[in-house]
């Protein structure tokens, strides 16, 4: 069985927010609910980097573990879904989630939050009819044999969605092509790159096709 995952290649993400818009459009989420977000670190600095984040469909999902209603479940494809008929809007999933994925339509006195909403990996959710499913959870593209719209519409193919093995292979190929010594999320020090001896360190860090191999 496939284990569905998202992977965002921060090297490619250009912070265009196309994924955010695609998601909003595909799922017609409530006003104020934005299942996907783009986070930018060091905005405006040379070290600026962006990454698109939503529910990461964790193997050991903290939201599932803390939910007092036990409304979460994992599909055979490893997608974490929840039943809005059972959700009471307590907010515990949000406290536990590392990625800020669960959102609530309201935030009122007496803990009135409404039903939690989060990314479904475009896999819908439990409902009697297709219309009800769309109304509550948005698109079920997985049932149609399609991948999540955010990844499908990513203009730079930074955001990958699919079986963990497949997308990590794609990412691995990119990393090899880029030539990072320690992999895509390497621990190389940028300070070295901006130092005068940049050329000396270069081969340890990155090269492209135009640079002759030593």
């Amino acid at each position: 069985m496939a284990q569905m995952k998202f992977l965002c290649d921060a090297e490619r993400c250009i912070e265009c927010n196309g994924c955010v818009t695609a998601c909003k459009n595909a799922n017609e989420t409530e006003w104020g609910i934005q299942r996907r977000r783009v986070v930018t670190l060091d905005d405006g600095q040379p070290s600026e980097v962006s990454i698109s984040v939503a529910c990461m469909h964790c193997d050991d999902a903290p939201c599932m573990a803390v939910c007092p209603t036990d409304c979460f479940y994992k599909t055979d494809d490893g997608i974490v879904l929840h039943d809005k008929d059972i959700c009471i809007g307590c907010g515990y999933c949000l406290y536990a989630c590392p990625f800020g994925a669960p959102q609530f339509p309201k935030q009122n006195a007496f803990g009135e939050r409404g039903k939690m909403d989060k990314c479904t990996f475009c896999a819908g959710g439990p409902a009697e009819t297709k219309e009800e499913e769309y109304e509550k959870y948005g698109a079920n593209r997985i049932a149609e044999g399609k991948l999540p719209l955010c990844a499908e519409m990513c203009s730079t193919k930074a955001l990958l969605a699919g079986d963990a093995q497949t997308i990590s292979d794609i990412f691995r190929q990119r990393v090899v092509y880029r030539g990072h010594k320690d992999g895509g999320w390497s621990s190389v020090d940028k300070a070295q790159a901006s130092a005068p001896d940049v050329s000396a360190n270069l081969d340890n860090m990155a090269y492209d096709a135009t640079r002759a191999e030593k």
Binding site: L41, A96, G100, Q107, F110, G111
Partner: protein, 347 residues
């Protein structure tokens, strides 16, 4: 004319080819002029300890979600999950279970604390109607909150499997609704009750002696006690401290309108769970002593009146103060006289 047109067309085609050639040459030259050092400087490749610290703390960070206060990765969530699920949850069961077990064993071995002497039939007003109303309202709300709270923590392991999704969905929705709306009412009433009973619960020297004698279990003589004995005072001060934490943390959780962060909510949740479980465990003891454990105690809080013998045995200092106002034995329904209960309450 014919040849001229052909000539022009040829020229046009040539022009297009020339332009393409120039463009291609330009592209190639750009590619050749690529500066790997420049590319390197633009590459990501900088994920080091500093970056992860920024990610964790939400520094130098912008987010495209409206009103978002979330960092990229919320590391405290997993800590909260582990403390709640692996420590508080089992510890609560152990605390409540052992409290119940202790009480059952105590009842089986020691049994009820009976009156030493015959009842005289003379009644003393101990709790006024207002106090009784307050006590039973707070008690009822406490039990409602305890049961709904326990359902929020443990219910999913029991009811969903036992009764199915539809029942569980309704039960847990009602549970949350009740807990969140009854909670503030309980909080306010508990504060009023604490204010009302503050003076009679101020500690006195003889309270220490009461504890040393285990409330009368050690030694033959009953220790001195005023209107409230040291055990009651202990319960009062547990409510005034731990209970206050329950109220404050509950308020933080129930009214997420003051910009509480996820960290605030995690802390509030842990405090709320721990303190309320402590209260529940102690409340079991309070309920036992007030009902099964002591002969003649419950009637004080239901009718308001206690027997003279009971008063003399359990609250001798108070009895000395108010014995003259005791109702006569022949009176089946002693007149409600709130003054006797409130006039003299030496603690």
């Amino acid at each position: 004319m014919h040849t001229l047109m052909q000539c022009l067309q040829r020229l046009r085609v040539l022009g297009v080819i020339l332009m393409l050639a120039v463009l291609t040459a330009g592209l190639v030259s750009t590619a050749q002029a690529a500066d790997p050092d420049q590319e390197l400087n633009q590459a990501v490749g900088t994920i080091n300890a500093d970056t992860w610290r920024e990610v964790k703390n939400g520094e130098n960070f912008i987010d495209t979600r409206h009103d978002s206060t979330y960092s990229l990765i919320n590391t405290s969530g997993e800590t909260w999950r582990q403390i709640r699920n692996d420590w508080i949850s089992p510890a609560g069961l152990i605390a409540l279970g052992s409290m119940l077990a202790i009480l059952v064993i105590f009842y089986l071995i020691v049994g009820r604390n009976d009156l030493d002497e015959e009842r005289t039939g003379r009644k003393l007003l101990r709790w006024t109607a207002l106090e009784r109303a307050m006590h039973w309202t707070v008690a009822t709300l406490f039990i409602v909150l305890a049961l709904t709270g326990l359902n929020l923590l443990y219910g999913k392991f029991v009811f969903r499997h036992a009764f199915g999704d539809a029942f569980w969905a309704n039960l847990i929705a009602l549970t949350k609704l009740t807990h969140n709306y009854v909670g503030p009412v309980f909080g306010i009433l508990l504060l009023l009750m604490l204010a009302k009973w503050l003076t009679v619960n101020l500690p006195r020297k003889h309270d220490w002696q009461w504890f040393k004698q285990g409330g009368g279990m050690v030694g033959n003589k009953h220790p001195d006690a005023g209107f409230a004995n040291a055990g009651e005072k202990a319960w009062y001060w547990i409510l005034a401290s731990v209970g206050l934490l329950v109220i404050v943390s509950g308020f933080v959780l129930d009214f997420p309108l003051f910009g509480q962060t996820r960290d605030n909510m995690q802390w509030a949740n842990m405090f709320h769970a721990v303190t309320s479980l402590i209260l529940m465990a102690v409340a079991l003891g309070h309920i036992y002593i007030g009902t099964l454990g002591t002969e003649g105690a419950l009637e004080g809080m239901t009718t308001g009146y206690v027997d003279e013998t009971w008063a003399k045995q359990h609250h001798n200092l108070w009895y000395e103060e108010v014995k003259d106002s005791a109702g006569q034995p022949e009176q089946q329904n002693p007149p409600v006289d709130d003054d006797t209960a409130t006039a003299n309450r030496p603690n």
